[in-house]
Structures are given as C-alpha cells and as structure tokens.
Amino acid sequence: MAHDAGTDTPELTAGDGVRRRDFINIAAASAAGVGGVVTLLPLISQMAPSADVLAESSVEIDISQIKPGQAIKGVFRKQPVFIRNLTPAEVAEANKVPTGSLRDPQSLAERTKPGKENWLITMGVCTHLGCVPLGAGEGEVKGEFGGYFCPCHGSHYDTAARIRKGPAPTNLEVPEYAFNSDTVVKIG
C-alpha cells in the first residue's frame, strides 16, 4: 500500500514526509491485521469444551456394592472407568512381578491409594488406539495376565492393569481420584 502510494507522488520522496506517510499506512495495515488475528480467538475457542461439558468433568461413584473380585464400569467424561476390587490373590500376583521388567514400569502401590491397594481404578480406554478392553464385566475374557484384554489389537493387561503383551504402549491410565469415604470415590 505504502509503496504504491509513493510511486505516484515523486515530488514527496524527500525528507520526513515520506517516512511519516509510510508509517501511517503501515500502522493502519498492522491494526487491521491485529484485529483480524484477535477475531480468530473466539472463533477458535468456541470449539473447546463448553461450560456444561466441563461441569461434568468430575463424578462421584458408590463402590459399596463391589465385592472382592468384582469390577464395575463407571462413566467418567463420557468414557468408561473401571473400578475393580482386587482379591488378595490378585494383589499378590501384581506385586510378584518385578517392575523393572515391565514396558511401563509401575508398581501396584503407585497405581492405587495407600491403604486402599485393593481398589484399582483405571480408565477403560486402551492406550493403544482407544478401544474399551474386556475384563471388567462378569464373564468377560481377562486376557493372559488376568486383568484386562483389548480385543481390537490384542493388548493384555495384568491385575494392576499394566500392559504386558500386545501393541499398547503404556498401562491403563489411572485418573485423578480420591476417596470421599469408604464407599464413595470421586473421580476427576
């Protein structure tokens, strides 16, 4: 813009006049550019989760009915969350494995809350490509390691929901949670 204006006005090519003119034209174009970029912000952020979706980002689940050896599927952020009451045998089996030998080294204690090591709470989302693994429901296949098995691409998880075999890169994710009481857990 500034250059084109300059070419038509050769008699003004000397001195401060041109610099001031260029400055105004550049400033005006820049202001328009800044305005355009700022306008993009709401257009982009409108696609982020809305207030009602965010409000449901934590959930309280009653676990009083889950007996040792049983598991339930809860819903957390529109995805399944597995809450499993491990039997002493399952705890022992999980603790038996040397963590150093694992693909994603974590002990059961690191994946549970102190004093509540029998409560294994993980997302029911395979870390490979996001399918829901089997093993939480009554009678479902638990895989070669007695935990969870993802039928999509054959990932096997053990009783601490750690990846032991198959393509998944990491253990099933442990969401942020806390025990409100002995019977109610708040996830998120």
């Binding site: 038509d8 105004i24 328009a32």
Partner: protein
C-alpha cells in the same frame, strides 16, 4: 411496449389500493377507532434502575443473591427456571460448597438404581432447576387453568423486561371504579386478579409478594415488598442474560480498538488520496 404494460400494471395496483383505502377510510370515518379496556387502562412499566443497566452495567451480586432467595422461597413453588443449572449460581457469588448445598435442597427427577422406577433424588451442581409441575396439564390443573411460565428468559421475553417484572409484582390493585363505569363488561372474573401492567389487565397469578418481611435476607437488607420485587427482577435479568457482565467488559476494548484502527485507516486514506484531490 413494456412501458404501456407497466402503466397498466401500475394502474391495477394503485386502483386496488385506492379501493382498499377508500373503503377503509369510510369505515373509519363512520365507526372510528373502537376503544378497548386494554388501550384505556393498560400501563407501561414503572421506571426501574438496576446496576446491570447500560453499557457500563455490572451485576450487583449481593442483590442477585437476594433475588435468588426470593425466587427460591416465593416463585419456585409454581415457576420453573429450566435453563439455569445450579452450577451457574457460582457466577452470582456462591462457592462450590454453597452451590452443592443449594442443589441438594432441591429434589430433581431420578431413577431408582435397583428397580429403574422414576423417583426423585437431591440435586447435584450439574442439574438444572427442577420443574415444579410434572407437565403442563398438571400445572394448568393446579393454577386455575393458567400455566405459570418459565422464568429463565422472562426479562428478555417482555418489552422492558426487568421493569415489567418489577411493575407486575408491585402493581396489583383494585379495579378502578372509572373502569367499571366505562366498560361495565370488563369486571375482573372470579379467580383472576386485576393488574394494569399485565397485557389484558387480569392475571391468574395471585399477588405473590404479600407482606414486608416475607423472606428474611441474610445480608440485613430490609425485605420490603418493593425491595423483594426489585431484587427478583434483578435476579431474572441475570438468569436471562448471564453473560451481560462479560459482554459489557468485552465491548469497550473492542470499540476502543475499532476507533483507533478506523482513525488510522482514515489518516492513511487522507495521505494516499492527498495528491489526487489536487490534480
């Protein structure tokens, strides 16, 4: 040719309009404009000034909380607020625990987890204000054949909404003797209540704010009828337009920037055109 046609079409429309106008004018001259009781006695809302008025407006959260209290203790028995969730109340100054407690104080529809039968459970922060009646038929049956309207958008769904709510709540009165003299047929029917701020003057809702001190404000404000009506009107401005604060706060920088950019643009225009204006 086209102009002859246009002339004919033009004459056709103008003649038809002249015919309508002539007939209408004759009728109007003969009968005049019929006076109705609404046109004679309906009143425009009283003036009401709220902190949220105007481009610099900002909600008075203290007042909104008082208004919410009036809604909860007086209006909620019949009027729903279905577009507002309990979590929204954080915006008028309640903290998470207070919101939880308020929500738990309302019973919302739920399902028995064992039998699947419909029941009610205490509300959660994510729940919306529950409907006071199961459906419109139940609402109609309980309210003299008039469904109490939802209040979420009330102040945007009426002209001059906040002032309308305030005027309606404080506007109940006896029918003027003059009205009955001029329109003897317009006596307020049994079960309705005369209110000059209501469109057709007679409304099914009984005066809801009946006495000073009907609610007890936590902040020590004296709960006169006038004060309660103002507070609940302010609260309903918030329920209808919860983003009002943010809108006003965003508006000023945007206008400031546009003014700045426009002035720069104008100066740029002047410099670029300067020579063209001369030769």
């Amino acid at each position: 040719m086209i102009r002859i046609l246009s002339l004919l079409v033009g004459l056709f429309f103008t003649a038809a309009l002249a015919w309508s106008f002539g007939n209408g004018a004759v009728n109007f001259a003969r009968e005049g404009k019929p006076a109705t009781v609404e046109s004679a006695f309906h009143e425009h809302p009283k003036a009401l000034h709220l902190a949220s008025d105007g481009p610099f407006g900002k909600f008075d959260k203290q007042q909104l909380q008082r208004g919410f209290q009036v809604y909860k203790e007086v209006c909620a028995a019949c009027h729903s607020l279905r577009l507002v969730a309990f979590r929204d109340l954080k915006a008028i100054g309640y903290n998470d625990d207070e919101v939880k407690a308020i929500a738990a104080g309302f019973n919302v529809p739920g399902l028995d987890p064992n039998t699947g039968e419909a029941n009610t459970r205490p509300g959660l922060a994510t729940d919306y204000f529950p409907m006071p009646f199961a459906n419109d038929i139940a609402a109609r049956a309980a309210n003299n054949n008039a469904v109490p309207p939802d209040l979420s958008l009330m102040t945007k769904a009426r002209h001059n909404g906040a002032a309308y709510v305030y005027s309606l709540l404080t506007g109940y009165q006896d029918q003027p003797a003059e009205l009955l003299k001029t329109f003897p047929d317009a006596k307020t029917p049994q079960g309705l209540h005369y209110n000059p701020y209501f469109a057709n003057l007679n409304l099914a809702m009984a005066p809801p704010l009946t006495a000073d001190g009907q609610v007890t404000y936590g902040d020590g404000t004296k709960a006169t009828k006038d004060q309660m009506a103002k507070d609940v009107a302010a609260f309903l401005v918030w329920t209808a337009e919860p983003k009002l604060d943010k809108r006003n706060q965003t508006g000023w920088p945007v206008l400031g920037f546009l003014l700045f950019a426009t002035i720069l643009g104008y100066l740029s225009y002047r410099t670029i055109w300067a020579e063209k204006k001369k030769h």
